[in-house]
């Protein structure tokens, strides 16, 4: 790997170029974007360590770090590594997954309002979970299965309904809106008909919560995401070419329809994984790409900064969800919208003042 300095043409921003395997793989890297990614990651890890340290049983930060590296008493090890670590790691990787899937959909739809919601996924997942919860009461696996089935069926239905010799981005959005609106109505109706306690349990699931997630969930989620995230990265270059419009992208040798299908599948799969594990955690997918774009000053939404921002957002939200009204545990989705929204508003105001 050789890292050459800025090339002949000055683009106004310092970039570095990575070349691997001789000249087979080369990638231009924007230095500011890289720095932002690094800072966001460090912040996310710092928040995660803070989360590990706090709780009903407070632990000093240096002992937490000791426990992580296996240099603490068995009791500390149990609290930090076995009890708290899986949930914290889940927050980090699920946040990253949501950020990436949001970036994918905003790029696909070329619209800052784009999110997995446009293809009806979250509404469908909520419907699936609601059916399971109101009909059977539902354990974790049943609810997760119901949500997955509902979400994927909805996304499939939207894609097929929008298909007419190819899926045009705008038609996909319109069909997605229509189907989501119907499902949302159905959800409201089911919540109204249910007993109050059942409805509240369902609404808590619907807000998205990391409460009670443990090591087994972490393993499943991380295996799936380890497969999906590289796929997303591979597709990111044709994705950016697709942003210029189908015709321009085709002229550059991109298989427009195939790329779009691939991106949709990866984006839905990322959201589906998170939703099945923790319920529909709102707003991370919507805000992380936009916040990351503003911090890194890039022209469009990019996957890597979005992932780092998503991880930081969800980790911070989970910390607050656990500690803000302790011992009452809020669903993390409620906190993500609050801090994500406030931070987003601040960012918009600061950007405007410049």
């Amino acid at each position: 790997m050789s890292d050459t300095p800025t090339t002949g043409i000055a683009f106004g921003r310092p970039t570095g170029i990575v070349r691997l395997f001789g000249e087979r793989f080369s990638q231009r890297l924007d230095l500011r974007t890289l720095t932002i990614c690094g800072v966001l990651l460090v912040l996310a890890v710092a928040v995660a360590v803070l989360t590990l340290a706090s709780g009903e049983y407070q632990i000093p930060v240096d002992q937490v770090i000791g426990a992580l590296f296996g240099q603490a008493s068995a009791k500390l090890h149990m609290v930090v590594v076995e009890w708290r670590l899986p949930r914290t790691l889940l927050a980090l990787i699920m946040g990253a997954a949501l950020g990436v899937s949001g970036a994918i959909f905003q790029s696909l739809t070329r619209n800052p309002l784009g999110s997995p919601d446009v293809i009806g996924f979250n509404a469908g997942a909520y419907t699936g979970a609601l059916v399971i919860i109101t009909m059977t009461g539902g354990g974790f696996v049943a609810v997760a299965g119901g949500a997955l089935a509902g979400g994927i069926l909805t996304a499939l239905a939207v894609y097929l309904l929008a298909w007419r010799g190819g899926v045009q981005g705008f038609r996909l959005i319109i069909v997605g809106i229509g189907v989501s609106a119907m499902l949302t109505s159905l959800n409201t109706w089911m919540l109204m008909r249910a007993q109050l306690e059942v409805a509240m349990a369902a609404a808590t699931w619907g807000a998205g919560s990391l409460n009670g997630l443990g090591l087994d969930r972490l393993l499943q989620v991380s295996v799936i995401l380890a497969l999906l995230l590289p796929c997303a990265l591979i597709l990111s270059r044709p994705m950016h070419q697709l942003e210029m419009g189908d015709d321009a992208a085709r002229a550059l040798g991109v298989n427009a329809e195939g790329t779009r299908l691939g991106l949709t599948v990866v984006g839905v799969a990322l959201t589906a994984t998170v939703t099945a594990a923790a319920g529909p955690i709102m707003f991370v997918a919507l805000s992380a790409p936009q916040i990351a774009r503003r911090l890194s000053g890039s022209a469009g939404v990019a996957l890597l900064p979005s992932a780092c921002m998503g991880a930081l957002l969800l980790a911070a939200a989970d910390f607050l969800a656990q500690r803000a009204f302790a011992p009452t545990q809020l669903p993390v989705g409620i906190v993500t919208v609050c801090i994500g929204g406030l931070y987003f508003a601040c960012l918009l105001m600061r950007e405007a003042r410049r």
């Binding site: 739809t109 070329r110 619209n111 800052p112 309002l113 309904l161 929008a162 007419r164 045009q168 981005g169 705008f170 038609r171 959005i173 319109i174 069909v175 809106i177 229509g178 189907v179 609106a181 119907m182 949302t184 109505s185 159905l186 409201t188 109706w189 919540l191 109204m192 109050l196 509240m200 609404a203 808590t204 807000a207 942003e243 419009g245 189908d246 709102m282 707003f283 919507l286 805000s287 936009q290 022209a299 469009g300 939404v301 809020l330 669903p331 409620i334 906190v335 919208v337 609050c338 994500g340 929204g341 406030l342 987003f344 508003a345 918009l348 105001m349 950007e351 405007a352 003042r353 410049r354």
Partner: protein, 347 residues
């Protein structure tokens, strides 16, 4: 990143001449009158049409006439007002932000109203529809003002994209706090889940009197800005070059949307989808001229809301299905069919 999601080029609508547009508008008006009459006639006790007309023009004290005057008429008038208001608010906000995904809720109207109602229920123990109205209306206005303030901080006027993003941010925060309040207090949750469905059933004529002035004023504003909005559709620079005062147009549109959507949401709860969908349908019929879109939306939106309300009364007799729930179920298939039938026109 561009705000418009469409790669499709602009093309005229189904009706290509002004005569065609006018005749379709008359057809739609006729349909609206039929739906209005049906809304008065149909219910848990069906009343024949001649009696309906008799009650409207020659009232006597029979049971049927009393039902019409006390229940059906206020409900129908409210449906008419709410439909017009939501549809118009949607048409305005889509034209202003040049974003086909924008609905009146994007400026925080729904989130503000829901937030104020949940605070009212949770902290002040309000429980009647009349108290709801004022809380919801004030919440909607406050949220929109906040969104506009954040969107227009700094140099220059509020750009569409910044308004949209500020709306998302504020809407999310308020929505989060609302569901937090609801999930921490079962009583609040119980009331909010019913308010959220959106209904015309609980209103009386007094509700109509409260919201009618705001909605009529909003409609007037919408009519005034329809022509300048055609210039705005060309982009800020071109519009300014054509002599449009962008900042003033934006301010007028924001005020109109707040009044229209705020009053409608206050009276009937958050009825989604009308503001999003009807302007699209209107645009497909008449093309991109905002004046025609305004006219069609005013007629088509109440048709959707009122027929949703009528269907809600029929399908679960003797119970009722809330209008907010039915709207999506009859509106969405139409929207999807239309989206499949022709190349959709973006903004």
């Amino acid at each position: 990143m561009s705000t418009a999601a469409s790669g499709a080029e602009r093309r005229p609508g189904l009706a290509e001449t002004n005569a065609g547009r006018m005749s379709w508008l008359l057809v739609a008006l006729g349909l609206l009158v039929l739906v209005l009459l049906a809304s008065i006639a149909v219910g848990s006790k069906d009343i024949p049409l001649p009696t309906v007309i008799e009650a409207l023009f020659a009232y006597n004290d029979s049971d049927d006439h009393a039902i019409i005057m006390a229940l059906r008429l206020p409900r129908t008038v409210l449906g008419l007002l709410v439909g017009m208001a939501l549809g118009l608010a949607g048409a305005l906000i889509q034209a202003l932000t040049r974003n086909p995904l924008a609905d009146p809720g994007i400026l925080g109207v729904n989130a503000g109203a829901a937030f104020a109602v949940s605070v009212g229920v949770g902290l002040f123990g309000i429980s009647t529809i009349h108290q709801y109205i004022w809380f919801a209306f004030l919440g909607a206005i406050a949220a929109t003002v906040l969104v506009y303030a954040i969107g227009s901080v700094g140099r220059g006027a509020a750009t569409p994209i910044r308004l949209t993003l500020a709306g998302i941010a504020i809407g999310a925060v308020l929505g989060g706090i609302t569901s937090g309040l609801a999930l921490l207090a079962p009583e609040t949750f119980d009331r909010m889940r019913f308010w959220n469905a959106g209904s015309l059933a609980v209103a009386g004529m007094d509700t109509v009197y409260v919201i009618a002035p705001f909605i009529l004023f909003g409609i007037g504003l919408a009519a005034v800005v329809a022509r300048p909005l055609n210039a705005v559709a060309l982009g800020d620079d071109l519009a300014a070059a054509l002599g449009a005062n962008i900042a003033r147009i934006r301010a007028v549109v924001i005020v109109a949307v707040t009044l229209l959507a705020g009053a409608a949401t206050a009276a009937a709860g958050p009825i989604g989808f009308v503001g999003l969908m009807v302007p699209h349908v209107a645009r497909w019929i008449v093309g991109p001229d905002q004046r025609w879109i305004t006219a069609y939306t005013i007629v088509l939106a109440p048709i959707l809301v009122l027929s949703a309300d009528i269907i809600g009364r029929i399908v679960m007799r003797p119970g009722e299905l809330q209008v907010g729930i039915v709207t999506a179920f009859i509106g969405a298939p139409v929207l999807i069919l239309l989206a499949r039938r022709r190349k959709v026109s973006g903004l």
